[in-house]
Amino acid sequence: MRIYIEDWVRSFDFEVTEGLWLVWLSSIILLFLAICFFVAVVISRYRKDYISRWELDFNQKVEALLLELIYGGYLSYEAWKSALSFDKFEKKYLQKARGQKLFIQIIATLRSRLNGEDATRLAEVYRKTGLYKTSLASLDNTSWQAKAAGIRELGALNYVEAVPAITLLSDYPHEAVRSMAQVALIQLDDSDPFGFLDALQNPISKSTMIRLHGAMLQKTSLELTTFARWLKSSHPDVVLFAATMSGLFNAAEDAQLLAQLIKHEQVRIAKAAIVSLEQLGAQETLTKEISKWNDFPLEIQLQLIQSLRNLDFRDEEMILRWLQSDFFEIVKAAIELYTDFKDLDSIRTTLNNLPPHDNLIEIKNQYAHFERMHLS
């Protein structure tokens, strides 16, 4: 072909250099690839249509089967299985990975919306069809997403026997796997759901914390009175997690330890401790902390004012001290707190009686501006 093209080009009477040949070849390859991409787009479009039709059909069949299982009044799994010829369905759809995954996904989603006996029945289908083996096998897969998906299925369908295998993945380097494993352990492990926190080396992200909190709320059997074991952890993320959960789960026993954490070198932990103490309604403990005011960084000071405000703090003497702060944020927070129980005129009078200060002048100017604007 090259010879043919070269001959054809030579008929135009010029030299075909190697560079020129390379440019032509590149252009032809690029155009060919462009055509391939477009064909791929068209094929993908038809493939998507086919898959969505297949999934629709599959979903309808599974839905019909599961509705019978839940509301059909069958006495046992076996009775339901033989009555609805589930064997045929298994043979046709559950031999291939796509059918298995989709089926597990449907029963897991449905189980999360149900509880009691209905939820147990769905978990039974997962066990008796042997689909749990697919999920267990995923844990040994080298790809992180297969591991994470397997853990999620085992947790969602209450396969408690998987706890030892999942525990091994609770400190996995990939965040998604680690996070799924930790959630699954809360779902499955009744004896020590937070045991994984003891040996944790990797970080707990905010996203994982939100996920763990969600799992804790869903597990009604969880009795949480204290997080003291982890408030003393050497892992800062574990301390942060425990400090946050103490407040959210009203662990009043932890108040003492939380108060100690206000001095923590990491501001985020100190702030979480203050918020939790606020949630526990520990106004007295927080008020005591004011005596160490100057030891705290600005962020902690602001959090203290905010939390005290939420606890109806009314100590005017303290507020007057804050109003003379060098930090505008503190003065602003103090005024906001003051407005909770004083009207604007009283605040203005108080501000006028205080020694002049840049921040106070700025605030007085802003108030004067409000008045002008409101009047206009």
């Binding site: 590149s26 479009r45 905010k206 939100i210 944020e329």
Partner: protein, 475 residues
């Protein structure tokens, strides 16, 4: 004389070929990084449940700042759309930037607004706030409207930054339509990862001809207008292949002003938006990144490829020309302001790759194209044009343009599959075929004009006339 001319043409041909090879190589590299990043994003997304964030008291608060200037025609509906965004701790701050029309009064009437005595900590320089309004209706308790003197978009955003009470700020154009789960998706990078995320950018998509109802996108349709179609293809290429690739390579220099989320503390410490540039969105990101690098702090800037923000693209050449002219001036201003980064290893990928890329392939590209064209014309006048070389080079560039456009369409098809009608795919292919002949020369022209206007010291934004979204007809 002939020898000199021969040497000159040899050198010039070589330089042009080198430039073309370099630009092709960088686009291919970006496409590769994009593909990797998209696969990774889609895999991780499978393990994110938006309901967890929605239901959690631990989800961080976000202040959404929307500057508005003379938006009376659409403001009430646009704000309603912002208020309908699904996010548990969301504060919506609309900044009326001294509008001359009824924008403020319409908002006051529609949302029962009254002045409040809220104190403001002016951490960033911005024009004085006249009044901060809050609603008397509990249903709008998360809405605040700031009325201030006109100072431009950057000033309005800075004003919003001063007022915002959340840890994160989402800056958007008030006329954009956000997907309901836009904030949920965009906030995710801030909640995970090994180093702190300081900013996330979202994909902007073209909403012309799409069906919008009550501020929500109902149906995605490829625009009827050919100019808007060109922009659809441009946006898919720029966002799904360009920015996604740069994000993966840790070299993202631009988060579109139409929609981005930032860590408020870092944005303020870096100095907020710059009033002196028309490319304030790009400039802020560059400055935030410099702030972190110069303090040796670990950080990330992420890009979310989901189609979360829909905007009306200019549908006339006049308006589009003004927009592109402004983009070019913004790019030049930002690059000049941060010239210290140019090939500076201290700034790693930003200094060694991103900055030179923006300089040579964004700022200088139209100039180089025009110079190439002039060179060809000169040779033509001298009677010495190398037709074969020129045509071959043109064929290569055209083939590469087709390659990139079809690859971008394939990326979109395999990931977010936005244009579901089969005929839309063929229309997009047609657009890809003719774009290099019709649309691209115009883009080059506006780029040149942007350079000229920059040299003239032009600072204005230029009017952006919009025709409005397509609404679903009520039966």
């Amino acid at each position: 004389m002939k020898d000199i001319l021969n040497h000159f043409t040899w050198f010039f041909d070589g330089a042009i070929l080198f430039y073309v090879i370099l630009i092709i190589a960088s686009y291919l590299l970006l496409a590769y990084y994009s593909a990797k990043a998209l696969i990774e994003y889609l895999r991780v997304s499978k393990f994110i449940n938006p309901h967890e964030l929605m239901a959690s008291p631990l989800s961080p608060s976000v202040s959404l700042i929307a500057p508005a200037y003379n938006e009376a025609n659409t403001i009430v509906e646009n704000v309603r759309s912002l208020l309908a965004i699904q996010y548990p701790h969301l504060e919506v701050i609309v900044v009326n930037d001294g509008s001359k029309d009824e924008t403020l009064q319409l908002l006051i009437d529609a949302y029962a607004l009254v002045p409040s005595n809220e104190l403001v900590h002016y951490q960033i320089k911005a024009k004085e706030i006249k009044t901060i309004y809050k609603s008397t209706k509990p249903v709008y308790e998360n809405l605040r409207v700031i009325d201030k003197a006109n100072g431009g978009k950057a000033d309005a955003l800075n004003c919003g930054l001063n007022v915002a009470s959340s840890e994160y700020i989402a800056c958007i154009d008030v006329d954009c339509v956000l997907a309901q789960d836009a904030i949920i998706k965009m906030i995710q990078p801030f909640l995970s990862g090994s180093s702190p995320c300081i900013a996330t950018g979202g994909v902007i998509r073209i909403a012309n001809s799409c069906i919008i109802e009550d501020g929500r996108l109902i149906d995605v349709i490829l625009p009827d207008n050919f100019l808007a179609r060109f922009q659809v293809l441009e946006y898919i290429r720029a966002f799904l292949m360009g920015r996604m690739g740069w994000s993966k390579a840790d070299g993202l220099l631009l988060i579109s002003g139409a929609f981005g989320i930032f860590n408020k503390e870092i944005a303020i410490k870096a100095g907020g938006y710059d009033h002196n540039t028309v490319g304030e969105d790009m400039e802020l990101i560059v400055r935030m990144r410099r702030y972190m690098i110069e303090r040796n702090q670990k950080y990330r800037v992420e890009f979310i490829p989901d189609p979360l923000c829909w905007t009306e693209a200019p549908s006339t050449y006049k308006v589009l020309g003004r927009q592109r002219n402004r983009w070019m001036r913004g790019t030049i201003e930002t690059l000049l302001q941060h010239k210290v980064m140019f090939f500076n290893p201290k700034y790693k990928v930003l200094g060694m790759l991103s900055y030179p890329y923006w300089l040579f392939f964004e700022w200088l590209a139209p100039i180089i194209e025009i110079v190439g064209l002039l060179y060809f014309l000169i040779l033509l006048l001298l009677g010495q044009p190398n037709y074969i070389f020129s045509l071959s080079l043109f064929a290569l560039v055209y083939a590469f343009a087709m390659f990139m456009s079809t690859l971008a369409i394939l990326f979109d098809e395999l990931t977010f599959h936005q244009y579901k009608r089969k005929r839309d795919i063929f229309k997009l292919l047609l657009v890809a075929l003719i774009e290099p002949f019709i649309h691209h020369p115009m883009v080059v022209r506006w780029g040149i004009q942007g350079n000229i206007d920059f040299l003239k010291g032009k600072k204005s934004w230029g009017d952006m006339t919009r025709t409005g979204f397509t609404k679903k007809e009520k039966k």
